[in-house]
Subunit: 100 residues, 2 copies
Amino acid sequence: MSISCLTPAERDSALAALPLWSLRADGLALVRTLRFADFAAAFGFMTRVAILAEKADHHPEWSNVYNRVEITLTTHDAGGLSQRDVALARAIDAAAIGAA
Amino acid sequence: MSISCLTPAERDSALAALPLWSLRADGLALVRTLRFADFAAAFGFMTRVAILAEKADHHPEWSNVYNRVEITLTTHDAGGLSQRDVALARAIDAAAIGAA
């Protein structure tokens, strides 16, 4: 199944509904940084996201330093943002309730 | 308890015993990139390392993209490499047996 990129209008609409996410400078990815109380809390969150991502067969690019997690969502097969990124961003927001 | 940096001689000796790790260009961190069969294998490894790190109260700076994990070890309290980084690198190598 091929995956198509969001149109500019779809992208703007998705971003408006995801206020905790930013568009990467090149327009091809969503980014969000989250902060937790400590490492255990940050990694607990990552574990929830890992399970969601594996289930969706769509994986984040992410980094962690102690209590901080930086997430980038993009769809390589589409060469930019797709509906998969929007769906994963929503699921991440739900998993991160309480994080700053 | 203050944490002291490795001396240059201690650092060289540690590096010689950690052939899978490189010294970051600034000399202040150990770095290793690992590749696994897939995301689930990569994140399973990260989970093992997270538990080891939390137990040691010394945490990696790391990123993950699908089956790849990049790890940086440094000791902020010491302003560079300490024995804690060497110990965590050894533990990571033990956890990563089988990874490339």
